[in-house]
Amino acid sequence: MKILPVVVALLTGALLIWAGQDMPDFGDPDAPTNHHVADWYIEHSEEDIEVENMVSSILADYRGYDTLGETTVIFTGGVTVILLLRGRGH
């Protein structure tokens, strides 16, 4: 066990703990992240898209570009593995 990686990991952890003291409490209903656009999605997604699961409606409709990019990432990963591992030695 070398000493430098331990020191770097501990320093990063200490920095994150120091920064995390200013975060809102865990499970706080008044935290800013839970209010800006999340409220709008929760109120409107039932009328806009008649799908019960909010995660599904946000994933496929409000943020459809994200999911299209995600599918492209999977496809590119598969093609990359094929290029790496198939047809060597020719």
Partner: protein, 148 residues
């Protein structure tokens, strides 16, 4: 590499694989009403084929799902998704604006969006994910990397 599992393992997996596949289809099509969706269902469908290859060997598995069909499915799913997006442009909306697509007999716009999400987008994602996961498994399997 040939699978050399016992007859009990083979019989149980031969019985179980169709039920796993039906569960995967249920997860894909039930994505709107509860937990689930295209990605999870595609992974479950791929898991049934992985189980089959583990018990019966790579040759039997590739006889069931050949590399050619796999390659076609890998691209078809992505094409379904972006095709539905482009369909909205064709009918005067923006890219991926599902409400613009006129479906026959349905004029209620939220219902059109729900049907396109559940029946189009999730199926496309599921097909691509299943084919890519099976591809990864075939490529990493010892002796499974074929040249064609």
């Amino acid at each position: 590499m040939k699978g050399d599992e016992s007859v009990i393992v083979r019989t149980v997996i031969r019985l179980m694989a169709p039920f796993i596949q039906i569960y995967g289809l249920y997860v894909i099509f039930h994505g709107g009403g509860g937990p689930g969706g295209g990605f999870q269902g595609g992974v479950i469908l791929a898991a049934s084929i992985i189980l089959y290859v583990m018990a019966f060997g790579i040759e039997e598995g590739q006889a069931k799902l050949t590399e050619k069909i796999n390659m076609i499915m890998r691209t078809t799913g992505l094409l379904i998704y972006s095709g539905i997006g482009a369909l909205a442009i064709l009918f005067g909306g923006k890219f991926l604006d599902y409400g613009a697509v006129p479906l026959p007999f349905i004029h209620h716009i939220p219902e059109v969006r729900a049907i396109l999400i559940d029946g189009g987008v999730e199926v496309g994602v599921g097909i691509t994910v299943m084919a890519v996961m099976v591809t990864l498994f075939y490529e990493f399997y010892p002796g499974g990397s074929i040249d064609d």
